[in-house]
């Protein structure tokens, strides 16, 4: 999924059951920050782009607090893996697996995401 940073007019797409959903322009994602996307069934995804240009998507809902705000968290890397820290109570979630790094019993959904 690594992209040359100069690549432009690419769209970010999320894989849903019935195909790829186009969400926004790649340029709308600031490296290190997320955005939220509304899915056709009412769920929400949080999309992120890291410094290396990799894209990630997880469920937007914070499973501890309940508000749909994970897209607004700070991102970082922990032992080489990308994560986002919830802006509510700061629990961190692995962006690849959705696993909460501070509570092994909690995990959020993840989505396939690509720029095309």
């Amino acid at each position: 999924m690594t992209l040359a940073p100069e690549t432009t007019d690419l769209k970010i797409q999320l894989q849903l059951q019935d195909g790829w959903l186009e969400v926004c322009d790649l340029t709308q994602l600031v490296p290190g920050r997320g955005v939220a996307a509304l899915l056709p069934d009412g769920r929400q995804a949080a999309l992120f782009r890291d410094r290396g240009g990799n894209l990630y998507a997880i469920d937007n809902r914070d499973p501890f607090g309940g508000a749909a705000v994970l897209s607004r968290g700070l991102t970082g890397t922990h032992r080489g893996r990308p994560f986002v820290a919830s802006p509510l109570l700061k629990q961190r979630f692995d962006l690849l697996s959705g696993q909460c790094l501070d509570d092994e019993t909690v995990r959020v959904a993840t989505y396939e995401v690509r720029a095309a």
Binding site: A37, L38, R51, P63, G66, A68
Partner: protein
């Protein structure tokens, strides 16, 4: 796990353990089974009466401060599934046939067992007074109880709690929190009769009364008075008086739930409790165990605290695994935070030991009471602490030994004569550090030295210490650091996993080398494996703040959301507003000095009305508007900026407010114009990013109506000028400010504050308020005075010019934002549906305004048709 329980045959291969009761102790028992591998070799069936799996009953009251039933949960689907546990939620055991070794559940399901474990807990005791079951009478034990109380309280204005023990006080506090006038009726002559003595009770009483609760001690409840409809209207008390109340919460103690055991012929104690031996096996039947509050332990006691229950759970699990273990009794030490008051008692708190002596320190004005019970030979036997239980962890650990310093020095407050701080390093290895989980100091040391734990979270995971009430975590931290240092490991003082430097060192690097991007700093000065990476949530905002504080000097943009800086800011700074629990934001315009014109008030009122925002006067002398959706923020701010308002930086680690009193202009005592000075200071330092938030206040005379001595920098007028105080703090650990300089002119005052703030920004750690900074830095206040008053380091000129650059370059962040379409782009709900409001952000009415509607809270009320759904909660919603 099956959704509908069915009668099942116990299979030959796997012996069956049936657990009745999925409360706190039941859950710990399951964890102990899993840890010993017994869930793999046994079929484990759990019958849970309540409509939800085990939750943290100890923290029950926190439901009223916003913790959802979900958050209180102590288990989750994954644990239950991974260990193949069959959990039947909402299906209690109704009978036990011991001869056939079968348990029947209410649903009709029958389970054969090889081992039966009863963990049925307690029920609240309700004294047999007339009308005790009337509409409006409640008990305080389960989440359902709380939901019912919350609902009923909506229509009530007065509430009374029967029982002034630990739970009674919690319940009364909860009623008060629900907006009711609250009464506590206690039969004994003092509050918390079990835990504290008369002196402690008096200190507690005073503090509790100051909170606005009415306490009636030494009186009993004789009758609940009801109206024609059968609803509570009052209570008749034993002194002949009647107390008008709309609801009554009984909290007069608990009794073991041993009915199931009685019905199947197990032995129970005279005053209740299932009689067990030291292995927690019932004395009547080797196939049956009883643990937790329903058990009458081998030492003849029923324990009403969670820690002994946990020990019993471990003992029963070990015994089932054929390991050696016994429960012979437990310490009843407790430390509680009741209505915000620390109350602790440990060891022989009431001085029952022969020939013992008391050391007492009491200050009822401050609500402080501390008593130590000392043996003839100087052994510390026990004690009671009310109002300040800071020393609890250390004192409890020394119980049973002669402490290395004089006992009185342990209870005297700091500053009063010889008070001594005993480090936990002085403790013996067998001292219990975490009493909830019975973890000794030796075990914690071993976690560091043998299991190579290097952080508190790792030690918690490894030893379970600190995972229950949390009161030992501070001592835990001290021990871990001491142990690491002792074993020659250089304790990493680095900011985080990305930087080995402290915040202060990073500040110096940024300033000296004029580094103005985070990436540059990370790639050049980060730890080897962090270079080129994405950093973390600790260092990004910290470095973002350093860059913002020094922006004009190092050539960075003064606007914190430009370019790379946007990615560094904490979530609140990123949206220039404070995130609320449902995902909406609050809006706080700056109101310098707390002074506002009628037009200003009207504008705020109109905006709040037009956007349906909840408004509240804050503790910082300004107005907060809550409940703005992210996409509404720019619209709201366009109107505020139009009316001349600026960002109040309530979201930033920056200057918050400079409070003022009316001062000389209006007040007959005032000696200087405190309002003008407060406004001047607020305007001078607005927008200044710092390691933590900064607060200030200016009072017009020594009466101190603006509370300047609780501020990071506080100013009090004198007839000759101004006195400057620094390092004050409210919050969790309040600190009175220290006087830095006296009788300053306006110009001297401002110059000194400039220096002080810039010196703090330069040398403080991340998230270190001026109070903790002042306490930490070598030399403390004297050193700071040398540097900023005497210029001992020769840096004052630089400090002043850094501040001058900040002042000259200040621009309102919100005005800058709304004037730029590009900057506004981030304020959308969804990138692919910018105008669709986030459906999760909902509101419900309360007291003529709105409050967040958290859909989660309703999860707790779902029926139990599909227990799997309930467990789903913590992972997926």
């Amino acid at each position: 796990m099956t959704a509908t329980p069915q009668a099942t045959e116990a299979t030959e291969a796997a012996p069956t353990i049936v657990l009745v009761g999925h409360g706190m102790v039941g859950q710990r028992f399951l964890e102990a089974l899993a840890e010993r591998g017994l869930t793999a070799t046994h079929r484990v069936v759990v019958l849970c009466e309540e409509p939800r799996p085990a939750y943290d009953r100890v923290a029950l009251t926190s439901y009223f401060s916003g913790r959802s039933p979900e958050e209180l949960s102590m288990t989750d689907r994954e644990f239950i599934d991974t260990h193949g546990i069959e959990l039947y939620v909402g299906d209690p055991a109704v009978s036990v046939d011991r001869a056939a070794r079968k348990v029947t559940a209410r649903s009709g399901a029958v389970f054969e067992y090889d081992t039966l474990v009863l963990a049925t807990g307690s029920y609240p005791f309700v004294p047999p007074v007339p009308n005790k079951d009337a509409t409006g009478c409640f008990v305080y034990r389960t989440i359902e109880d709380l939901l019912a109380i919350e609902e009923y309280a909506k229509k009530a204005t007065v509430g009374a709690v029967v029982g002034g023990g630990l739970l009674g006080l919690e319940a009364a506090g909860a009623l008060k929190g629900l907006g009711l006038t609250s009464h506590i009726v206690e039969f004994a002559p003092r509050l918390m009769p079990v835990q504290v003595d008369d002196g402690g009770g008096a200190a507690l009483l005073r503090t509790i009364e100051e909170m606005g609760l009415t306490v009636h001690t030494g009186v009993g409840t004789q009758e609940v008075v009801v109206d024609e409809a059968g609803a509570v209207t009052g209570m008749k008390l034993s002194d002949g008086s009647e107390l008008a109340t709309d609801m009554v919460v009984f909290s007069a103690g608990v009794r073991p739930r041993d009915q199931l055991a009685r019905d199947c012929g197990l032995t129970v104690g005279e005053r209740g409790g299932i009689t067990v031996d030291e292995q927690c096996r019932t004395v009547a039947d080797p196939h049956v165990f009883a643990i937790g509050e329903c058990a009458l332990a081998a030492d003849g006691r029923v324990y009403g605290l969670v820690a002994p229950g946990y020990e019993q759970a471990e003992t029963a699990a070990a015994t089932i695994a054929a390991d050696e273990a016994s429960f012979t009794g437990a310490d009843l030490s407790t430390k509680l935070k009741l209505l915000g008051v620390d109350v602790a008692s440990f060891g022989d708190a009431h001085g029952a030991t022969e020939d013992c002596l008391d050391v007492v320190y009491s200050d009822s004005r401050a609500g402080l009471y501390k008593k130590l019970v000392i043996g003839r030979d100087g052994t510390l036997l026990g004690g009671i602490l009310v109002g300040d239980a800071e020393a609890y962890g250390t004192l409890k650990a020394f119980t049973g030994s002669v402490p290395p310093v004089k006992p009185e020095s342990l209870v005297l407050p700091a500053g009063a004569g010889e008070s001594a701080q005993l480090g936990p390093t002085a403790l013996p290895d067998d001292a219990i550090i975490c009493s909830c989980n019975n973890v000794r100091k030796g075990t914690i040391r071993a976690a560091v030295t043998e299991h190579s734990c290097t952080t508190v979270p790792e030690v918690k995971k490894c030893t379970k210490a600190g995972t229950t009430c949390g009161s030992c975590v501070k001592v835990l931290g001290q021990l871990v650091t001491a142990e690491l240092e002792a074993s020659g490991v250089e304790v990493d003082k680095g900011l985080c996993g990305c930087f080995s430097q402290t915040r202060e060192e990073l500040y110096e690097i940024v300033l000296a080398l004029r580094i103005n991007t985070y990436q540059d700093l990370l790639d050049r000065y980060g730890r080897d494996d962090a270079r080129g990476g994405d950093g973390c949530e600790t260092c990004k905002p910290a470095v973002g703040s350093i860059i913002a504080s020094l922006a004009p000097t190092i050539g960075a943009s003064g606007y914190v959301l430009d370019g790379e800086q946007a990615a560094l800011q904490d979530s609140n700074d990123h949206f220039l507003a404070n995130l609320q629990k449902n995902g909406s934001y609050s809006v706080v315009p700056r109101i310098p000095g707390g002074e506002i014109t009628p037009e200003g008030l009207i504008t705020i009122g109109e905006i709040a009305r037009d956007f349906g925002l909840y408004t509240k006067i804050t503790g910082g002398q300004r107005i907060d508007m809550f409940g703005a959706r992210v996409e509404q923020l720019p619209l709201i701010w366009m109107r505020l900026v139009d009316a001349g308002f600026e960002s109040g930086h309530a979201y930033g680690k920056a200057l918050r407010t400079v409070k003022s009193c009316v001062g000389q202009t209006w007040c007959r005592y005032g000696v200087q114009d405190s309002v003008r000075m407060a406004i001047d200071l607020e305007l001078r330092y607005r927008g200044l990013r710092s390691p933590h938030k900064l607060k200030s206040a200016v009072s017009g005379c020594a009466r101190e109506c603006a509370e300047a001595q609780s501020k990071d920098f506080g100013v009090i007028a004198t007839s000759n000028g101004w006195n400057l105080y620094v390092g004050g703090n409210g919050g969790a650990t309040p600190r009175h400010a220290d006087l830095l300089a006296q009788d300053l002119s306006d110009a001297e005052l401002v110059r000194l504050i400039d220096r002080f703030l810039m010196f703090y920004i330069r040398t403080a750690d991340r998230l270190e308020r001026t109070s903790t900074w002042l306490e930490r830095i070598p030399g403390g206040l004297d050193h700071v005075r040398d540097v900023v008053v005497e210029d001992s380091l020769g840096i004052c000129e630089e400090l002043e010019s850094l501040m001058a650059a900040h002042v000259a370059n200040y621009a309102d962040e919100w005005a800058t934002t709304i004037n730029s379409p590009e900057r506004l782009a981030r304020f959308v709900s969804f990138v692919n549906a910018p105008d669709t409001p986030d459906p999760v952000v909902g509101f419900v009415p309360e007291r003529d305004q709105v409050k967040p509607d958290l859909p989660l809270l309703s999860i707790g009320m779902r029926t139990t048709e599909n227990p799997a759904d309930l467990l789903e909660g913590s992972a997926q919603r």
